[in-house]
């Protein structure tokens, strides 16, 4: 008798589980207040705080409390995921080509950059160094990375925004200071041959450097560097090179998805919110460089002076950058080849 009851309970449980799972696969036009933010990797802590504040902000305005879910991963991988069916309402990736790839796939309307202020850039950032406590290998500038005794940690340019920005920073560090293209190729070849681990995303690289204690210098986002050093409790420190790349992580609404799910109003409000003073303050507190001029002036103390060059100094536009450096068979493929044993 007891067994019968148990059996029945199990069957009921399984049927409900089955119903839930099957229904969970239905691409539903759900709650117009529910958003999925498909983001690049290191922005987790930032979005956590921004989302909580946005929820308050939105509830005050409309009486409805939106719920925002996050998916994080390497920027290019995330872009492909969206193209492959990951239903993000907004994408907050690491660089233009990733967001534009989604446009090319027809999911974002053309001219998306003009939809929001400052070319859809609520904040910018750059690539800096993180080194071990007291900088034992005395790494101060980009040329130090080419020294044979230096192991660099940076993510894979094929999957990570951080990875691509690091590459462009490395390249620009040579060409912006008078080096030729050949010099630059030799330099990046050297640095990548001394990179023991190429993780798929920014945070994974941070784990490799900070937790697994591999490598001498970590090339990462400024904001990630600050978080990393903070969490390391003294074992790591930041080094700002004199020059670095201006990293521009665009944000965009995924038109096809928001129109289908009916979340356009919430999604647009969400991205517009990023430009409010409240949001810009939060952004600055996480060490992302805010684009709001007033907030930037107020928080200037958080951001050391560093000469930042935009990618337009390296090539005409992003199309050329992709073709020259990151396309199949382009410079990155040529210098990394199939991996050369150190």
């Amino acid at each position: 008798m007891l067994y019968r009851l148990l059996f029945l309970l199990i069957v009921v449980y399984l049927i409900s589980a089955a119903v839930w799972v099957v229904r969970a696969g239905i691409v539903r036009d759900g709650n117009p207040n529910d958003l999925l933010n498909v983001a690049c990797d290191p922005t987790r802590e930032l979005w956590r705080e921004l989302n909580a504040n946005f929820q308050e902000h939105r509830e005050l305005r409309t009486g409805k409390r939106p719920s925002i879910r996050q998916s994080h991963g390497g920027s290019s991988s995330q872009a492909r995921a969206v193209i492959d069916g990951l239903d993000g309402d907004v994408v907050t990736l690491a660089m233009f080509p990733d967001t534009d790839a989604i446009r090319k796939a027809g999911l974002i309307a053309p001219n998306w950059q003009a939809q929001l202020p400052n070319r859809s850039l609520p904040f910018v950032s750059t690539i800096v160094f993180v080194v071990r406590k007291e900088n034992p290998k005395n790494i101060r500038d980009w040329c130090d990375l080419a020294r044979p005794d230096i192991a660099t940690i940076t993510p894979n340019p094929k999957t990570s925004g951080n990875g691509k920005w690091s590459f462009l920073a490395l390249w620009g560090a040579v060409t912006q200071r008078g080096g030729s293209d050949d010099d630059a190729i030799e330099y990046v070849r050297k640095v990548y041959s001394q990179t023991p681990v190429l993780d798929t995303s920014a945070r994974a690289s941070t784990m490799t450097f900070a937790q697994k204690k591999i490598g001498d210098v970590h090339l990462t986002w400024e904001n990630e560097a600050h978080l990393e050093v903070q969490e390391a409790g003294g074992a790591l420190e930041i080094v700002y090179p004199p020059i670095s790349v201006l990293a521009e992580p665009h944000v965009a609404v995924v038109d096809r998805v928001v129109d289908r799910k009916g979340t356009r109003a919430t999604a647009e409000a969400y991205l517009k919110y990023l430009y409010t003073e409240e949001a810009q303050e939060i952004i600055a507190s996480h060490h992302y460089r805010p684009t709001n001029a007033d907030v930037a002036a107020r928080t200037a103390g958080l951001f050391p002076k560093i000469e930042l060059f935009p990618i337009t100094k390296l090539a005409k536009d992003w199309g050329e950058i992709q073709e020259r450096f990151f396309a199949e068979g382009a410079i990155y493929d040529r210098i990394s080849g199939s991996g050369v044993k150190r």
């Binding site: 799972v21 696969g25 996050q70 995921a81």
Partner: protein
Amino acid sequence: MRIDAEFVGAASVSDRSNTPSLADARGSVRSRTDPAWVRYSLIGFTVGTVALLILVPLISVFAQAFSKGMLAYWKSLADDSDTMHSMFLTLMVAPLAVAINTVFGIAAAYSIARFRFPGRAILTTLIDLPFSVSPVVAGLIFVLLFGLQSTAGTWLKAHGYQIIFAPPGLVLATAFVTFPFVARELIPVMESQGADEEIAARSMGANGWQMFWRITVPNIKWGLIYGVILCNARAMGEFGAIFVVSGRIGGATDTMPLRVEKLIQEYNQQAAFAVASVLTLLSLITLLLKVVVERKLRAEKTRPGD
């Protein structure tokens, strides 16, 4: 079984019962006693190995989970909606995968143990295939099959359904990885039991389903439970395959093992170990059930069809 039977001379057939006779016991003492130093060093080695390999890690999981105290432990589990959801998701996905594998396992064991047919050996080998496939490969194949760059995936998406990056994909990947567990357990059990009881039931007029529910299933129940337990343990702990097919959407497609990894990456070691401790607790319960069932199973296996 005895290779050197000729060398030894008289080879009596032991009665496979587990209770030794008094003569056996005396003989055991005399001829099977190893020197004390051998005994103690082997015992010491065994205890040491198990302690180092297994016990210390187990204790460490709980130590690190509770490293900030009971309240912090509870909060890291109950106050975090993503963690709660991951527990819910694991409890939805794993039992479902186990259930469908159980149905299959019974069907497979019945066909293979009770009948002979051409290709039987090949079938048995194929059933074992997922056992040796790497979980990442397991995830990859479903992405290839149901992702948006496949025909199946595009068709489904156009009709409003999604398998990859959603719970159905998780169930499929988990079912694949744990595919052979129940079948592998049941086949030897059913083979050793023989078909006599079932044939007897048929000859007394029972129809197919009556025979199945009243004779077949009760006879294999302990083997079945054993297989289900093993299957479930593996299903709940699956990491690699789920990592590939889930899209890693916090609060939607993160199962508990994935949640552990995410918490580590977010510098929250204590919370990661808290979730790990829940998984560990579940696996220890699994082991307890396993021990209980094993005893019943041994009785079931050696019973020659009653």
